[in-house]
């Protein structure tokens, strides 16, 4: 069974470190997405797994076998390239069968697999065409077909949808996901598009600067980002991150006088960032976060309000067509459970102990009654959350 | 310098162009520029404009092309052997028609007859000898001494040339020759040096009218057999085609102890040979002999005034004094006996005796091979010679083919 294990995988290019010791386990049959901004090491990781590049140190195990020193063709995997890497002078059928011919698969078997792949991907009419005669989506399907005729159970994809238009991209996401389930493949999929990652993955591996920032299921990544970076990378628009400062009553958003968002016990506090998802904020008649609307971003089903809070930009996603006009003042409220705190120094999440939850709504400075039961005033005692699994570069 | 030209008064300024076969920037250009300047200054109403046109081949190409384009130069220095070509194209004026005065006729009679032969067609003279040469034998005195030969005595006959050559040919331990006895270059235009051999064998290669050749004469065959035998039989000369251009280099580097080449190389050898060398007439056989070579001055058709002005310049250029000056500066053979009588030339000859070898050989010299369709005919001949030299054909067969082909080419002119 193709379980993929990376053990202290490191890749350096001269002075530059592209991958700084990755430890990762991708379960058999999982749809794993390597997510991150460009230069984060996700493609390098994929190429190392494929064997197109050689690790500086560390091991790669596929299905329990150490394949680190094996050539690509002997690792039992297939791959779909960002530009599809179709051979322009070969027909669709020849492209799909290229690898089988190289491997001297008997022709009857080749025909069977070709028919199956063409059938699965709806390429039956296109087999005689050349890649240049196909649309982008069709080329994508040919690349997929070429990956699946190999019948390897591990498939790697390097930003396969980045060259397609938005509508086609959504369709193909669905199709690839279904293909992976139907063929029971383990998939490692590289993308920089967090929406793609959330919608497709069983397991999202968020990377940054050659390290894993967070390795979690999509829901967890979204709901409980382990770091400020994870918080800011995921979500449309991403989580608001606002600096906090101490005031007489507790912590408030820097540059504002209230409301108090967390109590302090007076001890020395590290600098903190407050994280709130835009959709957690709702306008409220009563007291809340006093903001000034500076702009509106109408998106149909909802509207993103661009607001100013103490000189910081705060985004709020509200349903439908918002009535607020730029320049108007609003109170935005949320529940305490929607608040996340991150260390400003290293970006890690800080857990607030909210053991003592009374029903007094004062902490949030008058967060409204409908939130009362959730928006409890924590009496926090500050401590850092346990560090997320982040193996150091020298762990291998 | 003598002042012959007497320019008529109040003549409009005449600009006469002269195509001269030398690459721009060579040392010769400075000499010609100087002559043109001197003449232009001392002759009212006439300016000489020399145009330097590269090799002889480039020069005739440019001159013929310019003529066909309707814009020919007034004068050109071209190979004497191309006289027929220029005559057939009706490009040139007969010098003997222009030179009508007694003074002018005397001037024409002053040249060595051997140099006038190539310029004569239909009993008229078409070119004035100027940049002329003849092949001579150069020998390495040190190599002669090392081989036990008298360093002061060059071979005087064909037999001696072979005999000396054998003594001069040296081999290394592997049997490869390190020094050959003699080198007669055969690339490009082998007919010229070969004509030395035919002349020595007392046979003339073409008729005066330039429409018949004599390539398959038994005496020509005999001469070619001798040339081929030098390498094939006697082993005193390198096999196959010997490059004309690198032969002096071979001589300087001791790869050959003797070489046949033009007197035009005299200055080159004098400056570059790292050993004592001698210059001699070519070895004799039935008789002594050598062809002449080099270029004549031609006047192209224009109008009588320009043609006469050109003739005046040419007469000035070939005064004995100017010939002597030219010969001393370049190494070309002065073309009239009077030039050799000038004090400058006398002094030069006594200082550098090899310079007189060429002059002395003129007595035995004949016209260079020249016919109608000259380049085509000589090419046929060259091809035949090279075929025999490289062993592609027997001398007699090669020459028979060349004779047949040449006579076919010349058929329209008979």
């Amino acid at each position: 069974m193709p379980e993929v294990v990376l053990d202290g995988l490191t890749r350096r290019f001269g002075e530059t470190t592209a991958l700084a010791g990755i430890d990762l386990v991708i379960a058999d049959g999982a749809f794993a997405v390597l997510l991150g901004p460009s230069g984060c090491g996700k493609s390098t990781t994929l190429r190392l797994i494929a064997g197109l590049d050689t690790a500086t140190s560390g091991r790669i195990r596929i299905d329990g076998t150490d394949v680190t020193d094996r050539p690509p063709a002997k690792r039992g995997l297939s791959m779909v390239f960002q530009n599809y890497a179709l051979f322009p002078h070969l027909s669709v059928a020849e492209n799909i069968l290229f690898g089988l011919k190289v491997r001297r698969v008997p022709s009857a078997e080749r025909r069977r697999r070709l028919e199956r792949a063409a059938d699965i991907l709806g390429l039956g009419q296109l087999l005689a065409r050349k890649p240049a005669q196909l649309s982008g989506g069709q080329q994508q399907r040919v690349a997929l077909a070429r990956a699946i005729v190999a019948e390897s159970r591990l498939c790697l994809m390097d930003e396969p949808l980045s060259n397609l238009d938005a509508k086609l991209r959504a369709e193909m996401r669905h199709e690839i996901r279904e293909l992976q389930r139907r063929l029971d493949m383990t998939m490692i999929y590289v993308t920089h598009d967090q929406a793609e990652a959330l919608s497709m993955a069983d397991q999202v591996v968020l990377m940054r600067d050659g390290r894993i920032e967070q390795d979690a299921a999509p829901a967890e990544l979204y709901e409980r980002p382990a770091t400020a970076f994870a918080a800011s990378f995921v979500g449309t628009p991403p989580m608001n991150l606002l600096p906090l400062e101490a005031s007489a009553g507790g912590l408030v958003v820097a540059g504002t006088t209230g409301p108090v968002l967390a109590e302090t016990d007076g001890a020395q506090q590290p600098d903190l960032l407050l994280g709130i998802r835009p959709e957690a904020l709702q306008p409220q008649d009563g007291p809340g976060l006093p903001v000034t609307v500076t702009d509106l971003d109408y998106q149909g089903a909802d509207t993103v309000l661009v607001c100013d809070l103490g000189g910081h930009t705060l985004l709020a996603r509200v349903p439908g067509h918002a009535a607020a006009a730029p320049g108007s003042k609003l109170q935005l409220a949320c529940t305490a459970a929607d608040l996340a705190f991150f260390s400003a120094a290293d970006g890690r999440r800080v857990a607030l102990s909210a053991a003592d939850t009374t029903n007094q709504p004062r902490i949030l400075g008058g967060v409204t009654s409908w939130t009362r039961s959730h928006c409890s005033p924590p009496r926090p005692s500050w401590r850092s959350s346990p560090p997320p699994p982040r193996p150091g570069p020298s762990s291998s | 310098m003598a002042l012959i030209a007497a320019a008529p008064a109040a003549r409009a300024e005449l600009e006469l162009t002269l195509n001269f076969p030398v690459a721009v920037g060579g040392p010769i250009t400075a000499i010609i520029d100087e002559y043109a300047k001197t003449y232009s200054e001392q002759t009212e109403g006439v300016t000489i404009l020399p145009v330097y046109t590269g090799s002889y081949q480039d020069t005739i190409t440019r001159t013929v092309t310019a003529f066909k384009g309707g814009n020919p130069p007034d004068m050109a220095v071209l190979l004497a052997v191309d006289t027929f070509t220029l005559y057939d194209e009706d490009m040139i004026v007969a010098i003997s028609d222009l030179a009508q005065s007694d003074e002018e006729k005397a001037w024409l009679a002053s040249f060595y007859p051997a140099f006038l032969e190539n310029g004569s067609i239909d009993g008229q003279l078409w070119g004035v000898p100027f940049q002329r040469s003849t092949p001579v034998l150069y020998w390495n005195k040190e190599a002669f001494a090392a081989a036990g030969l008298d360093p002061e005595v060059p071979p005087a006959t064909w037999e001696e040339q072979v005999e000396f050559g054998k003594q001069l040919t040296l081999k290394d331990s592997a049997g490869n020759v390190t020094q050959y006895g003699v080198q007669i270059p055969t690339s490009g235009f082998p007919y010229w040096l070969f004509q030395g051999l035919t002349t020595q064998n007392d046979v003339i290669l073409m008729n005066q009218d330039g429409n018949e050749v004599n390539f398959d004469d038994p005496k020509v065959v005999e001469a070619l057999e001798y040339l081929v035998a030098l390498s094939k039989e006697h082993g005193v000369m390198a096999p196959d085609i010997i490059e004309w251009g690198t032969t002096p280099q071979d001589f300087f580097q001791g790869r050959t102890a003797m070489m046949w080449t033009t007197t035009g190389n005299l200055t080159n050898v004098r400056n570059n040979a790292p050993f004592e060398f001698g210059v001699a007439m070519l070895p004799a056989h039935v008789r002594r002999g050598a062809p002449t070579g080099g270029g004549n001055l031609f006047i192209l058709h224009s109008d009588p005034e320009r043609e006469q002005a050109s003739l005046d310049f040419i007469r000035w250029l070939t005064t004995p004094e100017n010939q002597a000056d030219w010969s001393i500066k370049t190494g070309y053979v002065a073309t009239s006996p009077a030039a050799w009588e000038t004090p400058a030339m006398q002094e030069y000859a006594s200082e550098f005796p090899p310079a007189t070898v060429a002059r002395d050989q003129l007595e035995f010299a004949v016209a260079e091979l020249s016919t109608h369709e000259n380049q085509r005919v000589t090419k046929v001949f060259n091809d035949g010679l090279q075929a025999a030299i490289t062993g592609a054909a027997e001398p007699a067969a090669a020459l028979a083919t060349a004779q047949e082909e040449a006579m076919r080419i010349l058929a329209p002119y008979r």
Binding site: A50, G51, L52, P71, P72, A73, K74, L77, M79, F81, Q82, N83, A85, F87, P88, H89, F98, G99, V102, R103, K130, A132, A150 | Q57, T61, T85, Y87, D88, E89, D90, M91, A174, N176, V177, T186, S187, G188, A238, P239, D240, I241, E243, T246, Q249, D250, Q253, R255, E373, Q375, R376, K379, N382, D383, Q386, A387, I389, T390, A392, R408, P412
Partner: protein, 293 residues
């Protein structure tokens, strides 16, 4: 005025300068050459007269030199074209790899192309010189006999061919290199993933993708092979006994040494016919088998 007429007029005006140049310097000379080949050469003292196809008959029956230069030229093309293209391809594949000193290698391979042919010929003249020439010195080191490369009929043409291959290969390499660099690296990776060896990849993927370049290079090489003249002039003068003479060199001799311009015109017509035939054949036959991106 009629708008369409104006547009048409405008279009003609735009192509006019190019048309004038083409007609004056290409079409008219071609037609004039063809026409001249039916006449004898006019000399100053004898006018041209109509000969019909006499010149062409003469080539076949009366001109052994012509037959020899045609044979030489075909041999020259047959040897130098595949050799220079093959070497160019190998060099391009070689310097396209990531290797130390790649830039230097590329430059070294390309240098012969930058040299003027006459300069190149002079360098090789020195290599070939009997005795003190480089090649003969190397042969002497191994105790071999002296070879007169340019002076013997057996070696002259081959020696001239070697110079031409040496010079052309670098030129063609540049085209191959450009074409190779336009092949995305992912194709090689895809092939590698499928288990294709380097050789298989080159044979099945690279060569077919280079076919448009190969056709271009081939057309150029053929045209080049039939219009070589500079290094023949500089190195052998066609000798010994026409052993290294090629068609264009013979045309040059006939036209500018023998001044038989109308026979040279007839020879030029033959050369043109050969070039046109070969080019048409190449483009029509090969084009069908070529994938253009």
């Amino acid at each position: 005025m009629d708008r369409r007429l104006l547009t048409t007029l405008y279009a003609w005006l735009l192509v006019l300068p190019a048309m004038v140049l083409l007609v004056a310097f290409t079409h008219y000379p071609t037609v004039a050459t063809f026409w001249a080949s039916f006449f004898s050469t006019a000399r100053g003292r004898r006018p041209a007269n109509f000969l019909g196809l006499d010149h062409y008959r003469r080539m076949i029956t009366d001109d052994p030199v012509f037959l020899q230069v045609v044979w030489n030229n075909f041999l020259y093309a047959l040897v130098t074209i595949p050799l220079s293209i093959g070497i160019a391809l190998l060099m391009a594949l070689w310097v396209n790899e990531r290797l130390a000193g790649r830039g230097f290698l590329r430059m070294a391979y390309f240098t012969p192309t930058v040299l003027p042919m006459v300069a190149a010929a002079n360098i090789w003249l020195f290599f070939y010189t009997p005795g003190f020439g480089l090649l003969n010195q190397i042969i002497a080191l191994f105790g071999g006999p002296e070879v007169n490369f340019l002076g013997s009929p057996e070696t002259a043409l081959w020696s001239v061919m070697a110079v031409s291959v040496w010079k052309e290969a670098g030129f063609f390499m540049i085209f191959y290199l450009a074409a190779l660099q336009s092949i995305p690296p992912s194709l090689k990776e895809a092939a590698k993933l499928e288990g294709a060896s380097d050789f298989h990849f080159v044979r099945r993927i690279v060569l077919p993708l280079l076919m448009p370049t190969t056709l271009f290079v081939l057309v150029n090489a053929v045209i080049g092979a039939f219009r070589v003249v500079d290094h023949i002039v500089a190195m052998t003068g066609g000798g010994p006994s026409n052993a290294s003479s090629l068609l264009l060199f013979y045309i040059y001799e006939t036209g500018f040494k023998f001044w038989d311009t109308s026979y040279a015109a007839a020879l030029t017509v033959v050369l043109l016919a050969v070039l046109i035939t070969v080019s048409v054949l190449q483009v029509t036959v090969l084009d069908k088998r070529i994938h253009y991106r």
